[in-house]
């Protein structure tokens, strides 16, 4: 039946480094050797942090933890594209982003130990506290972008979320508003191909997540999320476009969750070693290392030194984290409102009196 095509759309894909670290040279972003090294160092730091967090969790020194492993290029590459005045709205698996933004690792450990003081992130880092309900923080980013635009601040807002988040209503409402209001937001979707046990291909019938942006009238692009140059380059362009007033971009970073969903999960229930294996070969840190090797930016002594330094910093942070005094039960009441309301004041006094004669109960 002859129907008239009235609109055409296409979704593009970008990869710069192949699995062997071989670059498509004309595509390489303008990064100095030093910058490239620092990208590598961030990724290693994120990896070491992650490994330490898992170890602490196993020893009962941390609560449930959501590992980053495999997503370091996506996180470090995109975070590096942001300026210090830009704002970040993370979900819960963004420790790599947090580390690049300069959030003290001590606080990240604290957060995952179940201590609220880990969310007391200094304002100047423009890094919003962790949002647990999947996808629900995406509108916050859009609202902040409106505010920045209204204030004429040259600020771009980046919001991070996963493949699972794209199914949630709030993703839709926020994306749509970003399109309508033409806001300076970069949507960074880490398609790590799993939402707990749900593979991405059962999360949606769309063959790419990038094409979801078509519904909102702006560009979506898919990049190799294990290729830090591709991620950085696309993110940088999106940030510049947003800063120039040219509206939002949706970036699907195709990557892989190499670990369990969280320490409370057992991925072997729903995925095989076979499924994981190809992604070990695609490890984003390995890939950059291969490239750096080719470019003579990497030696084994440099590699060792980076690892050792990361371990030292992480160990230091663990020490700081574990040196924190226990939280004050009054804190539970203090931050509910600007001022304690009369009912809260009463409840706080009741609890404090109750505790006065008793050891705080521990389980």
């Amino acid at each position: 039946m002859p129907r008239k095509p009235i609109k055409q759309f296409s979704v593009e894909w970008l990869q710069i480094l192949d699995e062997q670290g071989q670059p498509d040279r004309p595509l390489l972003p303008a990064l100095s050797p030093k910058e490239i090294q620092s990208l590598y160092e961030w990724m290693v730091l994120a990896r070491v942090f992650d490994e330490k967090a898992l170890a602490l969790q196993r020893e009962g020194r941390l609560g449930t933890y959501a590992p980053v492993r495999g997503q370091e290029a996506t996180q470090v590459g995109s975070a590096h594209a942001l300026g210090p005045a830009d704002w970040v709205f993370p979900a819960f698996r963004e420790m790599g982003v947090g580390i690049v933004r300069g959030i003290p690792m001590r606080m990240l450990f604290q957060y995952w130990s179940g201590d609220e003081r880990g969310s007391e992130i200094p304002l100047h880092q423009h890094y919003f506290p962790t949002s647990i309900p999947v996808g629900t923080h995406i509108p916050h980013a859009v609202g902040a972008a409106w505010a920045a635009k209204l204030r004429k601040d040259p600020v771009v807002v980046a919001v991070y979320f996963g493949d699972g988040a794209t199914s949630k209503g709030d993703f839709h409402e926020a994306m749509n508003m970003a399109g309508v209001f033409h806001l300076p937001v970069v949507f960074i979707c880490q398609n790590n191909q799993w939402a707990i046990s749900m593979p991405a291909r059962r999360q949606t019938a769309a063959p790419t997540l990038a094409q979801k942006a078509i519904a909102y009238g702006f560009t979506g692009i898919q990049v190799d999320g294990n290729d830090i140059f591709a991620v950085y380059k696309v993110a940088k362009e999106a940030v510049e476009k947003a800063r120039a007033g040219d509206g939002p971009t949706f970036i699907e970073c195709l990557t892989y969750r190499m670990a369990d969903h969280t320490t409370a999960d057992d991925a072997s229930r729903y995925r095989t070693e076979e499924m994981l294996k190809p992604w070990i070969a695609k490890d984003p840190i390995k890939r950059l290392r291969k490239f750096m090797d080719i470019e003579s930016l990497w030696t084994s002594s440099y590699g060792e030194q980076v690892r050792t330094e990361a371990e030292r910093r992480v160990a230091e942070s663990v020490k700081e984290f574990e040196a924190q005094p226990p939280p004050d039960p009054a804190d539970m009441f203090r931050y509910t409102y600007y001022e304690l309301t009369p009912p809260l004041k009463e409840q706080m006094d009741d609890l404090l009196n109750f505790l006065k004669d008793r050891e705080p109960k521990k389980e």
């Binding site: 916050h140 609202g143 972008a145 009369p342």
Partner: protein, 325 residues
């Protein structure tokens, strides 16, 4: 002094706060050119422009969600949800985020957001236009909940709500949007949140309500007066945090209580009020506490809503009941 209705009083309060503080913005469905379906935001677009008066897509969760982001960044958004029956789409944003941004960040961020929404039955509207689920919001720590019952109150409470550093849900009783005119000072003034209002002094019993139910309650109190019953009438006006002191002072004096609300009885805020009294003023009670409320049903469509809504006669019946004991 000009005599205004609630719509006009809220409109004036909004305009004055927007004049005073450039961080205050308004957003919602049809709040711009249309001036809101009840005309509460009329004239604001012309005065403040599209940057500060934002017509949004049809997205309740998105409206509240982006308002949270705006507030975190430093604005003072006043979001309109077209009817309280459409607020449920934004519950996750309210409960999981608006109410907790401050505590989650230990005070680094806060959320000075106001969500205005018309609420309550009695306007002969379709399904979902008659909700009064204020109890759910009151049960959400971190939110404040305010309900004005007259034009003067509306303006003063709205201004306080906008200036409050925490998220405030501002429920506007649509049934009396235009039903009452009273003198409303042209200049800005505020009525503190968290403080109930004694609408009528009395000795024999205490009547407690808020919003549109004040009217039948006061009518019943007036009628009771002709029978020699002296009823004290309290307008809670801030439902969260609740002013238990005012309630208790009155109940300790009168020893008898009737609570009136249009929400379904079970789990309504009347239970909380009764519980406060049963905890703290039990010895003063001379009669069981009586609640006059909506029923545990959906609010029926207009043909039956007058059966649903508490009215003067039902309140009066309750007054007689507690006085007879």
């Amino acid at each position: 002094m000009p005599r205004l209705n609630i719509v006009q009083a809220v409109n004036q309060g909004l305009r004055q706060e927007m004049d005073r503080n450039p961080a205050v913005i308004v957003l919602g469905e049809d709040v711009g050119l249309d001036g809101g379906v009840f005309r509460v935001t009329e004239g604001l677009l012309a005065r403040f422009g599209e940057d500060r008066v934002i017509d949004t897509p049809l997205s309740e969760s998105g409206i509240v969600g982006i308002a949270i982001g705006m507030a975190a960044y430093g604005l003072v958004p006043v979001a309109e949800i077209q009817f309280m029956g459409f607020l449920y789409g934004a519950m996750e944003q309210l409960i999981s985020h608006a109410s907790r941004i401050r505590t989650r960040s230990r005070g680094r961020y806060h959320c000075p957001l106001v969500v205005r929404t018309p609420y309550g039955a009695g306007i002969h509207a379709p399904e979902h236009h008659s909700e009064s689920t204020e109890a759910m919001l009151v049960h959400t720590p971190g939110l404040k909940v305010v309900v004005p019952a007259s034009p003067y109150e509306a303006k003063g409470l709205l201004i306080s709500a906008i200036r409050d550093p925490d998220p405030v849900i501002f429920l506007e009783p649509s049934r009396i949007y235009r039903a009452i005119k009273e003198e409303v000072p042209e200049k800005e003034y505020s009525i503190p949140l968290g403080v109930a209002r004694r609408v009528r002094e009395g000795e024999d019993l205490t009547l407690i309500s808020w919003g549109a139910m004040l009217q039948p309650m006061v009518a019943a109190a007036n009628h009771a007066a002709t029978e020699g019953i002296s009823a004290e009438v309290i307008d809670l006006r801030t439902l969260s945090p609740i002013d238990s002191e005012s309630i208790l002072v009155s109940v300790r004096k009168t020893g008898r209580v009737v609570i009136v609300h249009e929400a379904p009885r079970t789990g309504g805020l009347g239970g909380e009020v009764a519980a406060l009294i049963a905890e703290r003023a039990l010895d003063y009670l001379e009669a069981p506490i009586v609640r006059v409320t909506g029923f545990d049903t959906a609010v029926p469509l207009p043909k039956m809503e007058n059966y649903y809504l508490p009215n003067k006669e039902r309140v009066l019946q309750a007054i007689h009941h507690v006085m007879e004991v």
